[in-house]
C-alpha cells in the first residue's frame, strides 16, 4: 500500500512524465472533454424534457412512467448494453456520462415548473400575457433556481460517471488511470487517478455555484 509521500511524488511525476499515452494533464483533459460533451447533451435534453414534463400533463403522462423505470438504473449497469449499441468508441463513453447526469436535470427542471406560484401565473395572465409570455416571463425564470440546482447535481453525477465510462476500453483519462492501477495492483496510480477526480469535481461544482450566484442574484442577495 502506497503512503501519502509516494502518492504525492507519483502525482507530481505524472504531471511531467507520461503514464500510458499522456501525462496526468492529458488524462484529466481527456476525461474533462468527455464529461463536458456528455454533460452538455444531458443538460440540454434533461432541461427540455423536465420543463415539458412540468408544464404539460400530457407529456408527463407519456414520459414519466418510462423515465421512472430508467432513472434508478446506475450508469455502470448500462455498460454492456452501451457496448452492444454504440461499440467501444467515444460515443459509448459519452453516453454513459450522459446517463450519469440526465435524471437529476429532468427531475429538478420538472419540479421547478410545478412549484411556480399560481398567483404569479394568474397575475401575468390578468395583465394579458399569452401562454408563451407566461412561460417565458414567469414559469422559466421562476423555475430557474431549481433548474440550476439540477444542473449542479447533474455535473457531479456526470463527472462521477467518468470512471464507469472509461471502463469501456479507453486509453486515457482519470478512469483509465484507476482501472490500469487496479489491474497492475498499483495503489499509488489508483490514488493518482482518484485525487484528480475529487479536485476537478470540487472545482467544477465551485464554478457552477459562482455562475449561479451571478445569474440568480435575486435569489441569493439576502442570504
Amino acid at each position: 500500500m502506497a503512503g501519502p509521500e509516494e502518492v504525492f511524488a507519483l502525482i507530481c511525476k505524472y504531471f511531467i512524465e507520461p503514464v500510458g499515452r499522456t501525462t496526468l494533464f492529458g488524462h484529466i483533459g481527456a476525461s474533462l472533454g468527455r464529461v463536458l460533451i456528455g454533460y452538455s447533451i444531458a443538460s440540454l435534453a434533461g432541461v427540455t424534457l423536465g420543463l415539458a414534463m412540468g408544464y404539460s400533463k400530457t407529456v408527463r403522462a407519456i414520459a414519466a412512467p418510462l423515465f421512472n423505470i430508467v432513472r434508478p438504473i446506475p450508469a455502470v449497469a448500462w455498460i454492456p448494453m452501451t457496448i452492444l449499441w454504440l461499440g467501444i468508441g467515444e460515443a459509448a463513453k459519452i453516453f454513459i456520462i450522459f446517463i450519469g447526469g440526465f435524471a437529476n436535470t429532468v427531475i429538478n427542471s420538472m419540479s421547478g415548473v410545478r412549484t411556480v406560484d399560481p398567483v404569479l401565473i394568474g397575475a401575468a395572465q390578468l395583465l394579458g400575457a399569452s401562454k408563451w409570455q407566461t412561460f417565458r416571463r414567469v414559469i422559466l425564470p421562476s423555475s430557474f433556481p431549481y433548474v440550476f440546482a439540477g444542473l449542479q447535481i447533474s455535473l457531479s453525477g456526470s463527472w462521477m460517471s467518468v470512471l464507469a465510462a472509461e471502463m469501456v476500453s479507453s486509453h486515457e483519462g482519470v478512469g483509465w488511470l484507476i482501472i490500469t492501477g487496479m489491474n497492475n495492483a498499483n495503489t499509488a496510480q489508483i490514488m493518482a487517478g482518484m485525487i484528480p477526480i475529487g479536485v476537478v469535481g470540487f472545482i467544477l461544482v465551485s464554478l457552477m455555484r459562482w455562475i449561479e450566484k451571478k445569474l440568480c442574484a435575486w435569489n441569493d442577495r439576502s442570504r
Binding site: D117, A124, L127, R221
Partner: protein, 248 residues
Amino acid sequence: MTPGDNIVEVRNLTKSFGDLLVLNDISFDVKRGDFLCIVGPTGCGKTTFLNSLTKLYDIDRGEMLVNGESINLKKHNVAYIFQEYSTMQWLDVEQNIGFGLKIKKRPKEEIQEKVDKVIKLVGLEKYRHYYPNQLSVSMLQRVVIARAFATEPALLLMDEPYGHLDLQLKYKLEDELINLWEKTGTTVIFITHNIEEAVYLSNRIIVLTNKPTTIKREMLNGLPRPRDIASPDFIALRDQVTELIKWW
C-alpha cells in the same frame, strides 16, 4: 362615452361548484371613475365573484361587459391585485412595475416614462433596483399596486389587498390608494370583508348575502374626503353596512 357612463356591466352572473350554488344571478353596473367596494360575510364567495368576473373561473351563466363588450383580458386593460403578494422575485422594483407594460409590448421609452411616474407616486424611487426579497411587506404591496397603475388600467380589481397587513400599514396604504385613484381617475372594484375599510375607501358599496350569494343592497357613499373614521356620519354608515351583513 362621457365620464360617469357605465364602464362595467355585470349581467346575471351565476356560478356553482358542483351542486353548491355560490353566485346566484348577480347584476350591477360600475360607472367610469367609481370606487366600488364589495363587502359580504366571510366565505360568501367574494373572491369567486372576482375570479368569475375576470373569467379565471368558468361561469355557469351571465356575462361581464367592459365598455359594452364581453370582457377580454388581452383587449380590455384590466389589472388585478391579489390578496397574496404577486411580485416577480427575479425582477427588481423597476422591472416589476414595468412588467405589465412589457407584457403589453409597449416601447421601452414609454415603459421607462410610466415606471418613473408611478414609482414616484408610491414613494419607491430609492428602491428601484432592489429585489423583492430585500423589501418590506408594505413595499411589496406598493410594488404590485404600482405595477397595476403603470398599465393605466381602465378597470382595477383588488381582492382584499391589505388583508395580511397590520392596521397602521393598512391605513397608510389605503391613503396612498385613494391618492392614486384621485390622481388617475381609475375605476376600482375593491373586495373586502372589512366594513370600515369599505366605508373609508368607496364612493359606492355593494353588500352581498351569504351563499348562494346575491346582492343585498347597493349604497352610495357620499362622505366627504379625507374621511374621518371617528366622525358620526362615518360611524353611522359603518353601522348600517354592518347590520346588512349580519346573517346571524
